[in-house]
Amino acid sequence: MNESIGTRGLILNEPFLWERGRKGRSGYSLPRRDVDPAPLPEHLAGEGPDFPDLSEVEVVRHYTRLSTWNYGVDSGMYPLGSCTMKYNPKTNERQASLPGFAGAHPLVPSELCQGALQLIYELEHYLAHVAGLEAATVQPSAGAQGELTGMLIFSAYHRDRGKPRTKILIPDTAHGTNPASAALCGFKAVPVETGPDGVLLPEAVEALMDEDTAGIMVTNPNTLGLFETHIQAIAAIVHAKDGLVYADGANMNAVMGVVDFGRAGVDVLHINLHKTFSTPHGGGGPGSGPVCVGKRLAPFLPAPRVVKTGEGYLLSEDFPKSIGKLHAFYGNFGIMVRAYSYILSMGPKLKDVSQHAVLNANYIKELLKDVYHLPFDVPCMHECVFTDKFLEKHKVTTLDVAKRLIDYGFHPPTIYFPLVVHGAIMIEPTESESKETIDQFIATMRAIAQEAQEDPSLLQQAPHKPKVRRMDETAAARKPCLRG
């Protein structure tokens, strides 16, 4: 299909829930009352919430219309760098909704939840295997909580050795969560400057690493889409001062079946099931952020942990050095079911996933670098970073390119990140896209670069086709209106 996939269609307006409905309607079938009413003591009784009353049809229309204002992976290509917007297999949803899983109470004795415990145990084992590390926990609810888990482990490890430390090294390309998570554990973030080729240099780490530094947090592959080629040397420097190496595995999708993080010198690695392992992003969550560790850090993992015994699987609290609990129960189990299903569906072909993801990114890089400025023209991993430098003369920015892509039916890439690249356009196609779709994306990006020359206002005013145009974010922040 040569025609643009972005087109016009009938989009329906929809008011707020509370602008619909009439008192006394209901969209819910209450069970038959089989006991007598028992009023609450008057001083405790409230009036009940002021929710609108809607019929079932109204509820259905409301949310169906809202859904059509969204763009999802099921709608089209979503090349959002560092977010790994891959296809979310339908069978994963089926498995997670099995009544035995979806209807399970978390506080039953171990012998009555063997299915879930086996799943958790095996998933942790599979994740550690893919990472090349010894053990894993699936308790953290998202990547940021995985990072926090990692930092709590750093903190506990140094305290256990009787030598608490106060600083942590964080490269300037890192996600903002890295310093935020480290700060929660009382570590002062010390920035490390990235080298001229977009990767960390051992000298830079050597100059900063000391015996009051707990270790380093490295995103690898990094946020420029490059593999940190000196990771082993950097790990050696950090280990020489009894520090630890944390790898942010946000970009794991590039290296499954290829990299062994244990051999690379990594002590702790977090993974995002909602990126690498195909669980849906859900418009911002729920996610899941498992943490894998080397052998000497396994005693610090969050408890309870699932252990395997002769009689089956058990939830054990018997980990005296554990950093404790991160989640009321065991983490986002429903997300684990999906990731587990994905791993079993792919098996060793997880390596093909990484190969195709990296191929797609390099293919896009090669076919766009003559029209978009490429700050680091080296082989990339699963994402490539361009800038708006070539467009400056037309007064067109990265934001304009992103918004114009919407008109053509594509989700925009990640923009203005990493911060070290001015006007960054970060493209991560993932393995899910076919060659035809990628070719169409490339053709569209080239057409947009052409438009920038010929008719910049087309870009500056974009998008033109969605239900709403650019939003006044300044007004939203100056006079916040956070409820209706």
């Binding site: 974010e473 300044t474 922040a477 100056r478």
Partner: protein
């Protein structure tokens, strides 16, 4: 972004390298951010200020200004005790954009060492610094 020639840089205030300004007002000094700073930040959506009575050293961080997607720290051009803050900024942070040297002032300080004011840059020196950057 404004060209240097378009910047409003009044003669009656002194400047810092962090783009704050100070103006002598009898016993106290009025403090705000420069036209250059507000232009770089873009639409300001929130200004966080200290409370009267808080004491700062010269160079201390005393608050932040926020645009939609950035936060910048504010640094004291002079040490001393905060006498008053501009309450109007709470509801109208845009005053910092529209009138950085008048209605957009941020606070007044009773300086512990008024001679620090004399060490600040004058218009010429500040403009030279901007040209260099």
């Amino acid at each position: 972004m404004k060209e240097l020639s378009e910047l409003n840089l009044p003669e009656d205030v002194r400047y810092t390298k962090d783009h704050e300004w100070a103006r002598r007002k009898g016993e106290t000094f009025q403090i705000g951010i420069t036209d250059f700073a507000q232009d770089q930040l873009g639409d300001i959506v929130f200004v966080e200020l200290p409370e009267p009575g808080d004491v700062f050293q010269n160079g201390d961080e005393f608050g932040t200004v926020e645009s939609v997607k950035a936060v910048s720290e504010l640094f004291m051009p002079l040490g001393g005790e905060v006498a008053t803050v501009n309450a109007a900024l709470e509801d109208s942070p845009e005053l910092v954009n529209n009138a950085p040297y008048t209605e957009g002032w941020m606070l007044e300080i009773a300086a512990s060492d008024p001679s620090e004011f004399d060490q600040m840059m004058d218009r010429e020196a500040y403009l030279e610094m901007l040209k260099g950057s």
